[in-house]
């Protein structure tokens, strides 16, 4: 071992550390390393001797006051070093408070300044439907939903009757039905429907016999939101606020019947609507007996039937396919008609009566 390697161990020896045997042996026999050890020890002694003189000086007595509240200290410090007039500072604080309170008021008002109620309905087993009700649209259309809840088939319809500040009066119709049959809601004037005041933001529960408890939740909005996805899913046929044109003349407006989006993604079923004076129209992806093939481009269904040119215009794309089948039944007479001279929506299963030909399993009428 050479002296340079042993030097760090000499330092460690001064600190009371043990060192490797080879280093210890070298230090014990090397005059230079012993001189270094002597210097290190002498330096330590000299430092401690010098320090001994300085320790004789007394420190000034101090009073240890209880630490102040940090916020109070901060405030006192800020108040004492303030460089603007106190009045200006007070005015600044007052201004901030006024602006903050105005903001809070606006936030509170924003909850009921909308003109549209987004209504969410949940059944005993989970969500049923979302729909929107406008307080300004004179061609008001209801929220309508058909489907299975538990072991029952429920038809459910909600009209927005009036508005009073942040709440709305709703007319709610519910009925159970048999699949394939027209549910036939009770007429408003019959007094069979429920009228309730509903405040968006406050959940509302009501009981439907044989079905269970339905829960309504709402939210004010300042625009008509788009519900659902714009693109149809596989096998889906759907309509949104449809308009029927016969030889380019409007003969049916179903916007009051299908305010949102109505459809089915079951390729083995058919659904349709009735328009007074024109009969019933059934739509399917399978060729039905007596049906004509219709061309589909986005939200437009075009077909020729009975010597007329027909167009069914939908607010949303109808299906993924470029054609569907339309069965027109001009002599069809429904038993139950809704509020208007249109009726929607019929549904039925299709059965294959011969190769490549299907028919509705039963007349939905």
């Amino acid at each position: 071992m050479i002296c340079d390697d042993a030097a760090e161990y000499i330092s460690a020896l001064c600190d009371g550390e043990t060192i490797p045997a080879t280093a210890a042996q070298h230090i014990g026999t090397c005059p230079d390393c012993q001189a270094r050890l002597g210097d290190y020890l002498a330096m330590g002694v000299e430092l401690r001797r010098a320090a001994s003189f300085g320790l004789a000086d007394a420190v000034p007595p101090r009073v240890w006051a209880k630490p102040q509240n940090r916020l109070a200290t901060w405030w006192q410090k800020g108040w004492g070093t303030m460089r603007i007039p106190r009045v200006a500072f007070a005015g600044l604080i007052a201004g901030i408070l006024v602006l903050a309170s105005a903001l809070a008021v606006n936030r509170a008002r924003a909850q009921n300044t909308g003109t549209v109620v987004l209504l969410t309905t949940a059944g005993p087993n989970g969500p049923l439907a979302d729909c929107v009700l406008s307080t300004q649209d004179k061609n008001q259309y209801p929220c309508v939903w058909y489907g299975k809840v538990g072991s029952r088939f429920l038809a459910y319809r909600v009209f927005l009757v009036s508005r009073d500040g942040g709440r709305v009066r709703l007319e709610i119709s519910t009925t159970t039905y048999t699949p394939g049959a027209n549910p036939g809601f009770p007429e408003s004037q019959a007094g069979a429907n429920k009228y309730i005041w509903f405040e968006p933001g406050e959940p509302l529960k009501f009981n439907v016999p044989q079905v269970g408890t339905l829960t309504l939740e709402g939210e004010w909005m300042d625009h008509m939101p788009i519900l659902g996805t714009l693109a149809p899913i596989p096998n889906e046929i759907r309509l949104g606020r449809p308009l029927l044109l016969k030889d380019n003349v409007v003969v049916g407006d179903l916007s009051r019947n299908i305010g949102g989006i109505y459809g089915s993604d079951d390729p083995g079923s058919v659904f349709g609507f009735y328009i007074s004076g024109e009969g019933r129209f059934l739509l399917s992806q399978l060729p039905m007996k007596g049906a004509v093939e219709a061309q589909v481009v986005q939200g437009r269904i075009s077909f020729d039937e009975g010597g007329h040119s027909w167009k069914l215009l939908s607010g949303v794309p109808v299906c993924r396919a470029d054609h569907i089948w339309v069965l027109h039944q001009p002599d069809f007479k429904p038993k139950a008609i809704g509020r208007n001279d249109t009726n929607c929506c019929y549904g039925a299963k299709l059965v294959q009566t011969e190769p490549g030909v299907w028919e509705p399993q039963e007349k939905p009428n």
């Binding site: 010098a50 300085g54 320790l55 420190v59």
Partner: protein
């Protein structure tokens, strides 16, 4: 007399008497340490008072698991001194007050040589040789790994030795001891 644990329990509870006992016990040594770190009497006094004030206001920052209260005190003081020096000027040069009559006696060659070391070497040598801090405590105070302490101590000693031996040669071989 308080032991360390009892002392800090009392200080943490805001016991001013306990803190004052600790202050009177440790302040002289801390001031001396700071005097060698900062070079000036007044600066050392100011930084020392600031150090004690900070600990009195926030005693809960001390973690007994990480070392003794005295090691914590010197660690805080070291940081306060470094902060003070940072605000003064970006140099490691030490301004040494002319020795007052009471300090002439201690202005030996080794302390003169010490004042010419870097801040880190001065801190390390003083805490080890004068304050007797262990390697573990030095690692905590300086916030360096334990293994680094030994090598840095050696470097500090060697730097001081070079200066000290040079001073002895220039003074005709007179030894301070």
């Amino acid at each position: 007399m308080f032991d360390d644990r009892e002392l800090w329990t009392n200080i943490a509870n805001g016991n001013a008497d306990a803190f004052d006992i600790w202050y009177r016990e440790t302040a002289p040594r801390l001031r001396l340490f700071l005097r060698h770190l900062l070079g000036g009497e007044q600066e050392a006094e100011d930084v020392m008072q600031e150090t004690f004030t900070q600990i009195w206001r926030r005693p809960h920052r001390f973690d007994p698991e990480r070392g003794s209260p005295r090691a914590y005190l010197f660690g805080v003081a070291r940081r306060q001194a470094a902060e003070w020096r940072r605000k003064q000027k970006p140099t490691d040069e030490l301004r040494v007050d002319p020795p007052t009559p009471s300090r002439v006696e201690i202005a030996s060659m080794v302390t003169e040589a010490l004042s010419r070391l870097t801040l880190e070497h001065r801190t390390l040598l003083w805490l080890r040789e004068v304050e007797g801090q262990s390697y573990q405590e030095l690692a905590t105070i300086l916030d360096v790994p334990l293994g680094t302490v030994r090598s840095r101590l050696f470097a500090a000693r060697e730097a001081l030795r070079v200066l000290w031996c040079s001073a002895r040669r220039n003074s005709g071989g007179r030894h301070d001891l």
